[in-house]
Amino acid sequence: MTKYHPDTRFISDFAAGSLPLSQALCVSAHLHYCDDCKQKVEQLTDLGSVLFDKISPMNLEQDFSSLMQRIDSMPENNAQFNSEVITASTKSSPLPAALNKLTNNDLDSLNWQGIGKNFRYSELNTGDSIRETSLINIKAGGNVPRHLHKGDEITVVLKGSFSDQDDHYLAGDFIVRTSGEIHTPVASQDEDCLCLSTLEEPIQMTNWFYRLLMPLFKQSAQAL
């Protein structure tokens, strides 16, 4: 059972369509595992629709007949009508649909970067220029190097599970870490842990790799 959910703020911004793409990807990944939050999104989308219906309408420059002319001149019109358009993620797929698309359904062929034996990550191109979004793989029993969060980070567990000093996190859990928190996640012993993570990148030029190493350098310098 999923224990950690996006809060009302995330769910509302998601339903409104105003959440930045990388964070929306994390919420949609959580929804793949959580029917309760899916239902909340539906209810809030209904609210959006009620507010939408109350907007003062604006007259269009182009009328209905010019729209129909445009539709009739589209060669793909009938083909599109016949083909099934299914974009909703289904329970039968182990990973959320958007991630299947981003990874071409092939996790092994991604460009994985390793740090130590147990930890590797692969950056995903979500089109969000402000946040870095990665898949993270921790080997069974392995740990992520102790690190300090500089910006807000969202992590969604996709497969397996991990623990830190606070709790144990399972597939679907949506975990928000704010700037300044230090933690040391460890994957469970029996299975590799795959997570989706998006990190707010303020103005710094450092990437995930250096960001992870920097606290380690600091620690050794202070002989911790």
């Binding site: 629709s49 939408f52 729209l67």
Partner: protein
């Protein structure tokens, strides 16, 4: 005019069913008269919805394009609408919402510069915000949910209504809404929460 509606239903359900019936007529018969009714009601709302994105200098172009693109999708995707799972009005709203997200990204230079070489795997709004949710909701729940919201929304204090309108219509997240309304983020959060509570929408435990 179309005479597809059943007159024995109560008014609320009848109004909600009107759009359902018209969408089904488009899906099954490619009925242009049905599509025209939907166009005349929704296209001017969609144009105004585009204009809510205030920080965009291209609001004029975006607005006409959004209305047209959304209506074309309604025509082409009508057969994917599941009348037992959602209210038609909400379905059309989600198409407008997703199309607006994609158009804003199309007009954003940053976006173009960032992903031009990854075209085949580029995410679209439909990948992240499905316009059809499968198994968690049904049309009766949707109709009663919308009806309750409609009844309660006029009782919201103006400051709460302003916050939820900014979030749901202007394309601004909580933190962006806080900047626009010149309010602390905490105030925006609590006003939004109070509004959702009053509308009897699910909130955090």
């Amino acid at each position: 005019m179309l005479q597809l509606m059943q007159h024995k239903e109560p008014d609320k359900v009848k109004a909600a069913n009107k759009w359902n019936t018209l969408l089904i007529a488009i899906s099954q018969d490619r009925n242009r008269a049905a599509f025209k009714e939907i166009f005349e009601h929704f296209a001017p709302l969609i144009k105004a919805y585009a204009f809510k994105v205030t920080e965009l200098s291209k609001a004029e172009i975006l607005a006409e394009e959004l209305a047209q693109e959304t209506m074309i999708k309604v025509w082409n995707k009508a057969h994917t609408f599941k009348p037992d799972k959602a209210a038609a009005g909400t379905w059309i709203f989600t198409i407008a919402r997703n199309t607006r997200i994609d158009l804003i990204r199309k007009y954003s230079k940053q976006w173009k510069a960032n992903v031009s070489e990854f075209d085949e795997n580029v995410l679209t709004a439909d990948d992240i915000w499905p316009d059809q949710n499968d198994d968690v909701y049904n049309q009766l729940e949707a109709i009663s949910n919308k009806q309750r919201i409609l009844e309660l929304i006029n009782e919201l204090p103006i400051e709460q209504l302003t916050v939820i309108k900014t979030i749901f219509l202007d394309g601004l997240s909580h933190s962006e809404a806080a900047k626009k309304l010149k309010l602390p983020l905490g105030t925006v959060k609590s006003r939004a929460r109070l509004a959702l509570q009053k509308l009897k929408l699910t909130i955090d435990v």
